[in-house]
């Protein structure tokens, strides 16, 4: 089952490689991983999307927590949380009809066209993974996708719950 893990860690050189190394060393799965410094530059916040049964997930959480650089890790999957991913996708936009249709689909998904060329539109969309997948599927029926990039998901708990020192 897919799980979303939120990690707060020291923003030290090598911290990221320790996490990535741990996952490969112990044959844990990484679906996506995002990391950036927080508002406190001495800390990094990471979101990992992974898959595994309860026993594997328990090991992942414990093993990550055991890393000296890691301050906290929590599995936010089962509690109320927000999950967002950013998609940038470049599509062919040749005819008036296809331009109109791409614009319409983008509006429906509440995306934005952020760059245009003679024959292309570049669209930005945020949402959870399902929404992004649905958008890509819909676009595919209308036009040709030239390239796309996804950020991997970031997650945060709803309400008062917070991951902080």
């Amino acid at each position: 089952m897919r799980r979303i893990l939120a990690i707060l860690m020291e923003n030290e050189p090598g911290s990221l490689s320790r996490i990535v190394g741990l996952f490969s060393q112990r044959a844990f799965n990484i679906e996506s991983l995002t990391v950036a410094p927080t508002e406190d530059a001495s800390l990094s916040r990471m979101t990992i999307a992974t898959k595994g049964d309860d026993k594997i997930l328990e090991q992942i959480v414990k093993q990550v927590n055991k890393l000296i650089d890691v301050i906290k890790i929590t599995d936010i999957t089962d509690r109320k949380h927000l999950e967002r991913e950013l998609l940038l996708v470049k599509v062919v936009a040749l005819s008036d009809k296809s331009r109109t249709e791409v614009k319409r689909i983008t509006d429906i998904f509440r995306g934005a066209i952020v760059d245009i060329g003679k024959q292309i539109y570049t669209i930005q969309l945020t949402g959870d993974a399902d929404k992004l997948n649905a958008f890509i599927d819909t676009l595919r029926n209308e036009t040709e996708i030239i390239e796309s990039v996804r950020s991997g998901c970031v997650g945060i708990a709803r309400g008062e719950k917070a991951l902080r020192i």
Binding site: M9, E10, P13, G14, S17, R18, G21, Q25, K55, E58, Q59, K62, Q63, N65, K66, I68, D69, V70, I71, I165
Partner: protein
């Protein structure tokens, strides 16, 4: 110098800071080997006399020597190696310490920061190389990083579940041209690392009520007891509960090997009574042990009727291979004391009516004498007989550092260790070549004690160059090689599993080990027959001030028994050739 710096403060080079940091942390010995990137540190070592440097002949031996020193004393072992090959030669020793949770700090040189990433001469990313086999590591990039990194390295290596820490020191922060003020804070606190020490009171109460409900309790204790010096508490707990106790290979000496409640080592080459007791237990109290695959055999068949209480400082060890019904995270000495307190607070007295049938059953298994062998007078010497003779001569009080293979198992089975830290072996990694340098580390710490290196003709050749170091630093260990002219454990598996095909498992062109030892300036004693075994061994142990290499010709056909039947339950064992339990 920046404005605001104290103009009167004394300035030091990075190399001097390394040595001053180690002094501040009460380091007595560094085990190492010089080279380009660390010459400044060697120059700083030369100009002081608080710390002694031990020059090995290969960096791997430096790590094992520091490891043996740490295992015997409980202190942090310190290694110094140069960049590139010096550092990579440490990798096996770091992995060995990591697998057995041994506190160690490895200081590695590195090329200058301006050259890092350029494939410079003797450049290796040692922090990257060692990442999966260390507790933590530090890349120092400026003078000010040095004392902080070293203080933290010692703190991390020696607290919680101990382990090796690597500190990388680039050449340009060590050289005389760069100087700075020296400050070290040895009272380290880290927001990201707080080793949990006390067991949760609710879990303690749960553990105690489970123990009280047990009809067939077994205490299964491991290396954690040794590492946390909890032997006296374990003994008190065993005697309070009147329960049987088994030790892992790493836990031997955690309770006296001659204690009446001790039912031997468990696992692959453990005693039948230990494995049978585990298989038939209704409650297993695991103390500082980690359900290693060499203990459990097939996990699917592992002790299906037992409620498992698992005490460990490392949460990842709990429910990793075997699900724990009552997990307790905490230092094992602290938790045992909590359990003892809770037992006392609830007026515990052992129920003799419950204990009697359980002990009766265990004694039936004991009477099968699974740890036994046959020695005929006119046959070749059995390796087990050599271990028993060593035990008698040293009164069971020697430090025994072992290499890896059949001799290691024979030592574990036939030398009942009285105290913790007496038995020094590479249990987790199974590193051949560990024995001699580890024994040297022990001898350095305890020059007046008998220190044995038990080894084989295979293992000893993996670090035999250290005979030279022994001569230089006067480390008169007694090396006892059970020489069977083959890689005995490999050969045993080939006999049992591979149809007797001895693929690359025997040693052609062995040296004359006694002459080799003599050429280094040591004493060599050869033992060929049973008749001369006891007297020549006694002679070897009577020589106090010189290293003695005892080369014992043993029966090459002997196998280690009992032995787990592969894919079976913990108590499914071969008792001898073709005989199952």
């Amino acid at each position: 110098m920046n404005q605001g710096d104290d103009m009167t403060a004394e300035l030091f080079t990075g190399a001097e800071m390394v040595v001053k940091s180690l002094s501040a942390l009460n380091v007595k010995y560094i085990f190492g080997y010089p080279g380009g990137s660390v010459l400044d540190i060697y120059d700083a070592i030369f100009q002081q006399d608080e710390i002694e440097h031990i020059l090995v002949r290969h960096e791997q031996a430096a790590t094992h020597m520091a490891d043996g020193y740490a295992r015997a004393t409980g202190e942090v072992g310190v290694v110094l190696a140069t960049s590139g090959p010096g550092a990579t030669n440490c990798v096996t020793g770091i992995a060995t310490a990591y697998m057995d949770s041994i506190p160690m700090v490895v200081l590695s040189g590195q090329v200058a920061t301006s050259l890092i990433g350029n494939d410079a001469f003797q450049e290796t990313d040692i922090v990257g190389c060692t990442r999966p086999i260390i507790k933590h590591s530090f890349n120092c990039r400026s003078l000010a990083d040095i004392p902080d990194a070293i203080a933290k390295a010692f703190y991390i290596a020696s607290t919680g579940r101990p382990g090796p820490v690597v500190v990388e020191l680039p050449k340009d922060i060590l050289i005389p041209q760069n100087k700075g003020t020296f400050n070290i804070n040895t009272d380290v606190k880290m927001r990201s690392y707080n080793p949990n020490i006390k067991g949760h009171p609710k879990q303690i109460r749960k553990a105690v009520s489970t123990i009280k409900s047990a009809k067939r309790l077994v205490i299964y204790s491991g290396g954690g007891i040794v590492l946390s010096d909890a032997s006296h508490l374990l003994t008190e707990l065993v005697e309070t509960l009147k329960a049987p106790v088994t030790n892992t290979l790493m836990g031997l000496g955690g309770i006296s090997g001659t204690h009446e409640n001790f039912i031997g080592m468990l696992g692959m080459h453990g005693s039948l009574e230990a494995n049978k007791a585990m298989a038939n237990a209704d409650v297993i109290l695991a103390l500082g042990a980690r359900f290693d695959d060499r203990v459990t055999n097939n996990v699917e068949k592992f002790c299906p009727n037992a409620t498992i209480i698992h005490v460990d400082i490392d949460p990842t060890s709990i429910s990793k291979t075997i699900n724990a019904h009552v997990p307790v995270v905490g230092l094992v000495d602290v938790v045992i004391q909590q359990i003892l307190d809770e037992l006392a607070a609830t007026d515990f007295t052992p129920d003799e009516e419950v204990l009697a049938p359980w002990w009766q059953q265990i004694n039936l298994w004991r009477n099968m004498k699974s740890i036994s062998y046959k020695q005929d007078e006119n046959e070749k010497i059995k390796p087990q007989r050599v271990v028993e003779a060593m035990y008698k001569i040293t009164n069971g009080e020697a430090y025994v550092a072992s290499d890896v293979g059949q001799h290691q198992m024979f030592a574990a089975q036939y030398y009942p260790f009285e105290k913790p830290r007496q038995w020094i072996n590479s249990g987790g990694a199974g590193t051949m070549g560990f024995g001699l340098p580890a024994a040297m580390g022990v001898k350095l710490a305890f020059p007046d004690k008998h220190v044995i290196c038990i080894t084989g003709d295979g293992s000893i050749q993996m670090n035999i160059q250290e005979l030279s170091t022994c001569m230089q630093y006067n480390l008169p260990v007694v090396i006892v090689a059970l020489n069977n002219r083959s890689l005995g454990m490999v050969r045993q598996w080939q006999d049992m599993v591979y149809g007797g095909r001895h693929s690359s498992s025997y040693m052609e062109s062995l040296p004359d080990f006694t002459k080799l030892a003599e050429s280094y300036g040591h004493v060599g004693i050869k033992i060929n027959t049973l008749a001369e075994l006891d007297s020549k061994l006694e002679e070897a142990f009577s020589i106090k001030n010189r290293l003695v290499f005892v080369d014992v010709l043993v029966d090459e056909k002997e196998h280690v028994y009992p032995m787990h039947i592969r894919t079976g339950a913990i108590d499914e064992m071969w008792l001898s050739k073709g005989v199952k339990a």
